[in-house]
């Protein structure tokens, strides 16, 4: 990685070559116009330098055709660049359904990474080459940014929201991981390394590293330790099959129907009073401040398993994890259905 003055980051993901192609096209276009302007200025300075103090050039006549030319042509070039960039951006923001999810929790000045099979890492990410990976990221405090220059990708990690970033590593090696959004004192220390390994090395690494509980098992343990099992078997709504279903709730006194997605489950853990399931009193205590970000993700994995939903949330469609039907009025009687519009 460190051979003399590097002028180009390694191309290590499926997006890298495409971003580099766009980069070379842009450099060519901007280089041409910069040299054109420099050349014109230099020639005009020399050819039309002031030879006598009382020299007086004649009146300039404006040419509407020329004005139009140098507005429309740059606009045309700009549109080409815009479309090329927009298509590339669209691809980078629509993960394929078969991508393997890796949970990333950004905390002030460290990255905590959780694989689906239970492996947990700090500031390091071991991934096999050639397999699409989706990072489901959230932050516990301020805004961070998971940036891997070698993959030509970055995505802000916003507190209070799940953001996603996907890529297919194509070249084996170790690459820098930077935090690109200023987050305080240790912003510059919040770096890490992405280890892209061949399939065999990856299996070998899996075997070697101490495998802790899978998120599902860890979630089940939490479910019992924190006493959720006590209510959620009898007095509180049973959670079997709840993930992905339509739940009738009252939000601040108004009836509504909400789709139980990740945001709903998470909010019900942290802020139970926001949406109260119809027919049940608002007595669930809030777990804000007691559960960390990883523990919520483990509980989420467990609750999903209760309803047999695939552990990997399906990322079909452009809008991230679970898209919703449009705003058609609800089929169910007078109760206005909120597909997911009203989740906090």
């Amino acid at each position: 990685m460190h051979n003399g003055i590097p002028l180009f980051p390694p191309e290590a993901s499926n997006f890298a070559p495409r971003v580099d192609a766009l980069f070379f096209f842009l450099v060519a276009v901007t280089g041409f116009f910069t040299l054109l302007i420099f050349a014109l200025i230099v020639t005009f300075i020399i050819r039309f330098r002031r030879r006598r103090p009382d020299e007086r050039p004649e009146k300039t006549h404006s040419h509407m055709a020329l004005e139009l030319a140098w507005s429309v042509i740059p606009l045309g070039i700009a549109m080409v660049i815009f479309v090329w960039g927009a298509v590339l951006f669209y691809q980078s923001r629509t993960p394929p359904p078969n991508a393997e999810t890796v949970a990333v929790i950004a905390k002030q000045w460290m990255w905590k990474i959780q694989h689906q099979d239970g492996h947990r890492e700090i500031n390091e990410l071991h991934i096999p080459v050639g397999l699409p990976i989706v990072l489901e990221m959230t932050s516990q405090d301020v805004i961070h940014d998971f940036s891997v220059p070698a993959f030509r990708l970055k995505q802000d990690v916003v507190p209070g929201a799940y953001t996603h970033e996907w890529f297919i590593p194509t070249q084996i090696g170790q690459y820098h991981l930077f935090c690109d959004q200023y987050c305080g004192t240790g912003h510059a220390l919040m770096t890490g390394t992405i280890y892209v390994m061949s399939k065999e090395d990856y299996q070998q690494w899996l075997g070697g590293a101490p495998a802790e509980l899978t998120p599902r098992a860890a979630g089940e343990k939490l479910f019992t330790n924190y006493g959720c099992i006590a209510c959620h078997s009898t007095r509180a709504p049973s959670l079997a099959g709840v993930f992905g279903s339509q739940v009738a709730v009252t939000i601040d006194g108004s009836p509504a129907v909400v789709r139980a997605d990740e945001a709903y489950i998470r909010e019900s853990i942290l802020d139970p009073g926001a949406k109260i399931v119809k027919g049940y009193p608002n007595i669930m205590p809030s777990f804000r401040g007691q559960l960390s970000e990883e523990q919520i993700m483990d509980l989420m994995a467990y609750i999903k398993s209760l309803s047999g939903a695939a552990e990997v949330p399906n990322y079909s469609g452009p809008s991230g994890s679970t898209t919703q039907p449009e705003q058609t009025p609800p089929p169910m009687g007078d109760v206005p259905s909120f597909p997911n519009r009203v989740n906090p």
Partner: protein, 219 residues
């Protein structure tokens, strides 16, 4: 006009005539009101985004506001009535200033100040009622409602607080105007101050005309 305004020293040295000075003053005030529109606009945008996200909590918050009523009409409606009347008294005071009716001008200025004070009084009653109902955002915000209702009240206090601040500034300006009238400084030739401050007051009323439905009538 018998003696030209320029000789009476009414026109500042950088202007050529009284007409240019009036046009500059009006445009200057309107440009300032444009900045005020966007100053409140920042809050309106935040309100719009959060109403779009948490509509039902917004509706709950608005119902909480409507509980404070007098003769079965919410305090917001009374305040709108008070402010619309104060706009009328301001128009009458500008009219009086232009035609040199000092007595009417003074009465109208005082009426406007009384109505302004009435508005602030109703606001004070509302705020104290909110305090009793634990609706002030902070640690002891009422637990039965969700966090987003607390967000609504943060918006409510930001918008109405900023508006009340502008009311207090307006009252200060009108006190200055009343003092000028008493000292015979306002004449048909020198009434630009009344008109400019009148524009400011109408704008503050305009903001309330939008704040009232946005905050109180969320259904």
């Amino acid at each position: 006009m018998p003696d030209h305004p320029e000789h009476l020293g009414l026109v500042a040295h950088q202007f050529d005539d009284i007409e240019q000075q009036r046009e500059a003053a009006t445009l200057g005030m309107w440009a300032f009101l444009a900045t005020e529109v966007l100053f409140f606009g920042g809050l309106i945008v935040a309100y719009a985004v959060y109403r779009h996200e948490y509509f039902l909590s917004w509706r709950k918050g608005s119902e909480e506001l409507d509980k404070f009523t007098f003769l079965n009409i919410s305090a917001g409606a009374w305040n709108t009535l008070v402010l619309l009347t104060s706009s009328l008294t301001v128009v009458l005071s500008v009219h009086a200033a232009k035609h040199g009716k000092n007595a009417l001008l003074l009465r109208m200025l005082l009426a406007t100040m009384v109505l302004g004070a009435a508005f602030l009084g109703i606001k004070f009653l509302e705020y104290s009622n909110d305090y009793r109902e634990h609706l002030i955002p902070g640690p002891n915000f009422s637990p039965e409602v969700s966090n987003h209702v607390q967000l609504f009240f943060v918006m409510y206090f930001a918008m109405t607080g900023l508006h009340a601040l502008h009311m207090v500034i307006g009252l200060g300006l009108f006190t200055w105007l009343a003092v000028q009238t008493l000292r015979r400084k306002i004449t048909p030739d020198r009434h630009q101050a009344v008109e400019t401050i009148g524009l400011y007051w109408h704008f503050v009323d305009l903001v309330w005309i939008f704040l009232f439905p946005l905050l109180y009538l969320v259904r």
